[in-house]
């Protein structure tokens, strides 16, 4: 499936040093439209560093990033956002006191002009929110509900909706189910599947094999800052992937 789809983002031989420590060494990564890539690895394997390089938070010491086949140098996360890459953070960057819609559009609220004053267009926020939540099949009572009234899974769904509200092409999720009750994990995984159907490329960092095997098309393992193994999901097994995480092939 991934072979026929468009290549959205490619990292070529990315290396990152912190002083004398080598966090990443010649790491390659590819993500295609409508594909989900699972990134696994033990703590300190370089997963987070790699994601921070992709999002522009860290500059790679060497190696390069290609968005839509074009080489790009990222100065800040803003640059990667403009290229269509969004991060969903583990600590859910949402303001609990604001309604769902206002969280999704926080910082990019639609406005209408009243004379020379720009006022928030609440009607448009609600319409766009309802449409977007509907597209992702996220069920909430109302877009006006405050985020703090939601369950952990619903909050995660809102965070994911937020990341994709502005035509994101690639979404990186850091442990998207780590903070959730078991019954809510399924809903978030369903959401990742519906994201894939809209053509978004999803990168999931997770420790949970259940998650990886539920949504991913491909899985790659990092070990001590290098590409250790990679496979189509259908051609591997849980035990094999767990072995990769521990550095065994």
């Amino acid at each position: 499936m991934s072979s026929i789809n468009q290549l959205l983002l490619e990292a070529k031989s990315v290396t990152k040093y912190f002083g004398t420590i080598t966090a990443l060494e010649n790491v390659n990564l590819k993500i295609h439209a409508g594909e989900c890539l699972g990134v696994v690895g033990d703590n300190g394997a370089g997963k987070t560093t790699l994601m921070k390089v992709l999002s522009g938070l860290y500059k790679p010491s060497s190696g390069s990033l290609y968005f839509d086949g074009k080489k790009e140098i990222l100065e800040s996360p803003k640059d990667s956002q403009e290229l269509g890459l969004e991060m969903v953070y583990q600590d859910l960057a949402l303001a609990g006191n604001l309604p769902i819609g206002e969280n999704i559009f926080l910082g990019r609220e639609p406005t209408k002009n009243l004379g020379f004053i720009k006022l928030l267009d609440f009607k448009k926020i609600k319409e766009l929110t309802d449409a977007h939540l509907g597209k992702l099949k996220i069920n909430v009572k109302s877009a006006d509900q405050k985020v703090e009234e939601l369950s952990g899974g619903q909050r995660q769904a809102v965070a994911i909706a937020r990341s994709t509200a502005f035509n994101a092409k690639v979404v990186i999720m850091d442990e998207p189910t780590a903070a959730l009750a078991i019954k809510e994990v399924g809903k978030v995984l369903d959401l990742i599947n519906s994201l894939k159907k809209t053509g978004v490329g999803v990168i999931v960092i997770s420790h949970r094999m259940d998650d990886i095997f539920a949504v991913c098309d491909r899985v790659m393992a990092l070990f001590q800052g290098t590409n250790f193994a990679e496979s189509e999901l259908s051609k591997t097994s849980r035990d094999e992937v767990i072995g990769w995480i521990m550095g065994k092939k």
Partner: protein
């Protein structure tokens, strides 16, 4: 989630927003009714009602400024001192014989600059908490006010300068008596509160102020320039304190060293009674107005009944504790953790 859960949930969810929004107005209404029965001839008389508004006029400006700061989960302890310094500068400029519009502008500019200093101190000097910066400026601004005035009152302003605090809008053309006028300060309160209601609820900046109070890292991750918004908030707070100084100048016809002493605490109290949460992100402009009114009516009513001002202190303190306890309960009910 099973059905029973959902039912309980929807009842909470339906009631809480209304209680959040209008509970404080209910309290205000109850107070008015009680006071009316205790003092049927006086309390709701034209004279007394306008009196209450005149008394709360400058406090309501300070409270509104502090409210915005509290929404960002900050605090401004310096508003009373900003008002005093602005008032002193006004008095000195007036004594120097400047034209009235210059005199009237000075406290607004002085207040704005004081607020700007607070905002820049908190963001650029990276003070660990706004409490510390504004505690410092509480002393600095009042000290400066005393230094420039020699610590003595300066009295005597023109009618134009006194208009906002002392002016009357004649209503005899409506067939009312001459004593039934509308204080200009009441109209000013209404205008300022409406402007800031629109600002806080219907502009992006206002929304970001709430977002910063709710989760500053979320605001930052959403591209909101948190430091810039904080500087704006503290500057506006100072500006409102400057308006307070202009009103006070009108009411008292004098710049005096004790102006606004401890009024920062009144302002904070009004916000808290009005439902603003110290944790930030919560509270409404309407609530602050109700908080200011409750404190004003309490003082006025107790004065009418000749209750000692010591009792007023006890009562206002009790209401603060009660209001915050309600806030605690509300958080328990409204938030899923």
């Amino acid at each position: 989630m099973d059905n029973k859960d959902q039912k309980k949930d929807s009842l909470y969810l339906k009631l809480i927003p209304y209680f959040d929004r209008y509970g404080i107005l209910l309290l205000l209404l109850i107070m008015i009714v009680v006071m009316h029965f205790l003092q049927p001839d006086v309390f709701l008389s034209w004279r007394n009602v306008t009196n209450v508004f005149k008394q709360i006029s400058w406090q309501s400006m300070l409270a509104l400024g502090v409210f915005m700061v509290i929404v960002t989960a900050g605090i401004d302890l310096s508003v009373g001192s900003i008002m005093m310094l602005s008032l002193m500068i006004l008095a000195i400029v007036a004594k120097a014989g400047a034209p009235w519009f210059v005199v009237a502008m000075t406290p607004l500019i002085a207040g704005l600059i004081c607020g700007l200093i607070n905002g820049l101190g908190i963001t650029i000097l990276r003070m660990p908490h706004p409490f510390i910066m504004t505690l410092g400026t509480l002393y600095i601004f009042r000290g400066t006010g005393n230094l420039i005035s020699g610590g003595t009152p300066i009295s005597g302003f023109t009618d134009e300068v006194r208009y906002l605090g002392h002016g009357r809008i004649d209503l005899t053309w409506l067939g009312l008596e001459k004593s039934q006028y509308l204080p200009v300060s009441l109209v000013l309160i209404a205008i300022v509160y409406i402007i800031f209601w629109v600002f806080m609820n219907h502009t992006r900046t206002g929304k970001w102020i709430y977002a910063i109070g709710g989760n500053p890292s979320a605001a930052r991750a959403s591209g909101v320039n948190v430091n810039k918004i904080l500087v704006i908030v503290y500057s506006l707070c100072g500006f409102l304190s400057g308006i307070g100084a202009l009103i006070l100048a009108g009411r008292t016809d004098s710049g005096y060293p004790n102006a606004g002493l401890q009024s920062e605490l009144d302002a904070i109290a009004a916000c808290i009674i009005g439902g603003a949460s110290f944790f930030g992100g919560r509270g409404t402009v309407l609530g602050v107005f109700a908080g200011v009114m409750i404190m004003g009516i309490l003082r006025n009513g107790l004065n009418l009944m000749d209750v000692s001002s010591f009792w007023q202190q006890v009562l206002i303190g009790s209401i603060i504790v009660l209001a915050v306890y309600i806030d605690v309960l509300r958080r328990d009910l409204g938030t899923r953790k």
